[in-house]
């Protein structure tokens, strides 16, 4: 034991008065080394000086009033919140009144504008309908009025033909239309997403024209991910959405292979409304075969309701790497704009 090591060990000791946790080796060294003995004495004196700070406390009178001051402070913090609403002074009250007035004005003007537009639209639609009737009377009605084949257009990288799927399936179109009470009407499956576009109530019927332009779409995307304390979060898949039958979405999932384990999952979501999807999920992990051990399979079945942006923990599933928490998340974007130049006829 040399002095440097002994002093380093001493400096880490909290209690240098009793040296309770100090090893015998250091104690022996201190007894034989004058320099270290003096160093220890300095340490003790410095500790004593520092510990004088412990005595610096306010009087008992201060402590007696501590609780009452704390309560008063708590009340002071709570009161301004109420004052903000009720109006503690003239200015906040005036501001509150102005805010209400502004909201009312905006609401009234929005109502007036909408009313006005509806009138214009109705007039324009009547004129278009009249025009169509005249054209229809002049020429024979084609059996199926489809511009090109949807698959071809997507492959060629041309503007997406969003009415693709149901254009060949009137029943599906009608079912989708009936799902949404007001104006939701058209659907496409592309890159594993289900997209529902907006139509006005008149055109959401078979045989009508879907006008061209920018449309907001409903965009759905599912992600399944696992969480594990050792591995962290693992996104396992964005399953591919294949078709939409009524409000049922068929999903294509692939088995996943990870460190010898096979992870299978299936789920069948159902659209409840524009912002909610309900789904049943079945997930299983097969453990790899090891000598003297039979193959294990863990299965998890659950029914969940997912809302936009939510990740729901489905449950825990065991594997040789420890327990996994399984999550399913859903992303819905109802304001996504899609540019379309296609005139689609049903």
């Amino acid at each position: 034991m040399n002095c440097r090591k002994a002093r380093r060990m001493l400096l880490k000791q909290v209690d240098v008065v009793n040296l309770g946790q100090t090893s015998q080796e250091i104690k022996t060294h201190i007894n034989t080394c004058d320099g270290c003995k003096e160093f220890l004495e300095t340490m003790r004196q410095v500790d004593n000086l520092i510990k004088l700070k412990k005595k610096e406390l306010p009087s008992e009178e201060y402590w007696r009033s501590y609780w009452s001051r704390l309560r008063a402070r708590n009340r002071r913090m709570a009161v301004p919140q109420e004052e903000k609403l009720l109006g503690g002074s003239l200015f906040p009250r005036l501001r509150f009144a102005f805010e209400i007035l502004a909201i009312l004005l905006v609401a009234i003007s929005a109502f007036l504008v909408a009313n006005n537009q509806r009138d214009i639209k109705t007039l324009a639609q009547s004129m278009q309908a009249l025009q169509r009737e005249r054209v229809a009377a002049a020429r024979p009605v084609p059996e199926k009025n489809i511009v090109g084949t949807p698959e071809k257009k997507i492959k060629n990288g041309q503007p997406k033909l969003y009415a693709a799927n149901f254009r060949n399936d009137i029943r599906l179109f009608n079912e989708v239309g009936s799902l949404f009470p007001s104006d939701m009407g058209w659907v496409a499956t592309d890159n594993g997403q289900v997209e529902l576009g907006l139509l006005n109530a008149d055109s959401a019927r078979s045989g009508n024209i879907i006008s061209e332009g920018t449309r907001p779409l409903l965009f759905l995307n599912f992600t399944v991910f696992l969480k594990n304390s050792s591995v962290g979060t693992q996104k396992i898949s964005s399953p591919k959405i294949v078709t939409l039958d009524g409000n049922k979405i068929s999903i294509k999932t692939n088995d996943l292979f990870h460190s010898g384990r096979v992870l299978k999952y299936q789920f069948s979501p159902v659209l409840v409304n524009k912002k909610t999807v309900q789904t049943t999920l079945r997930l299983s992990i097969s453990e790899p075969k090891s000598p003297g051990k039979e193959q294990e399979e863990t299965e998890l079945r659950t029914v969940i309701t997912l809302r936009d942006g939510e990740s729901v923990e489905l449950g825990k599933i065991s594997s040789s790497e420890g327990d996994y928490s399984v999550f399913l998340s859903l992303y819905i974007d109802g304001n996504r704009k899609v540019e379309t130049t296609e005139k689609a006829m049903i």
Partner: protein, 189 residues
């Protein structure tokens, strides 16, 4: 089950009496820790009250993973850190106007002796304030609050080895600053 855990359960159930008891139980320790960290009575008073109010507000987030004391210390030290960072690196030495008597102050009428005590107090406070924040916290919690290495590690959210290293650094620095003063006092004796 420790007493404070009973109180915490009662407080979670909305019992304000339990909060009063918890405040009574920890007020001196939390105040003292903040005073030793900041070196100023008014700041310690303000921060300790803020710490209790936060504990009251966020009591539902206390899951019992650590002791209530550790959790409370952590709230207080976070407040102190934010405050001290705002205050900057100035080692401000503000005269402490303690309400009531200060036990460190000389009780004699000898003004010379009184002045010496005041100077000593300044030297000690300056030495503690000169430590970097983490080292200062470790020194305060281990030497003055007499917590264990494990408790300090929980409060600081680090390994015990890190606490030991910080304490070693802090102590070396304190000996460097206060050592000459100790020698001078020894010589005078």
């Amino acid at each position: 089950m420790p007493d404070d855990l009973h109180l915490v359960i009662r407080l979670k159930g909305g019992d304000e009496e339990a909060f009063a008891e918890l405040v009574h139980l920890y007020q001196k320790r939390i105040y003292a820790m903040l005073y030793q960290m900041t070196g100023n009575h008014f700041e310690a008073d303000d921060l300790s009250q803020e710490a209790f109010l936060r504990a009251y507000t966020y009591i539902d987030s206390f899951k019992g993973g650590s002791s209530f004391q550790t959790w409370l210390y952590r709230i207080a030290r976070n407040l102190a850190f934010t405050h001290l960072k705002k205050r900057g690196r100035k080692n401000t030495l503000i005269l402490n106007e303690f309400p009531g008597e200060n036990l460190l102050e000389s009780k004699t009428d000898n003004p010379m002796r009184s002045l010496m005590h005041e100077e000593l107090r300044f030297e000690i406070t300056a030495a503690i304030n000169s430590l970097p924040l983490f080292q200062r916290e470790v020194a305060v919690l281990l030497l003055l609050q007499e917590l264990s290495y494990r408790e300090v590690a929980e409060i600081q959210g680090c390994a015990e080895g890190t606490v030991a290293w910080r304490f070693y650094q802090a102590r070396r620095r304190l000996i460097k600053i206060l050592g000459p003063l100790v020698d001078k006092m020894r010589y005078k004796k």
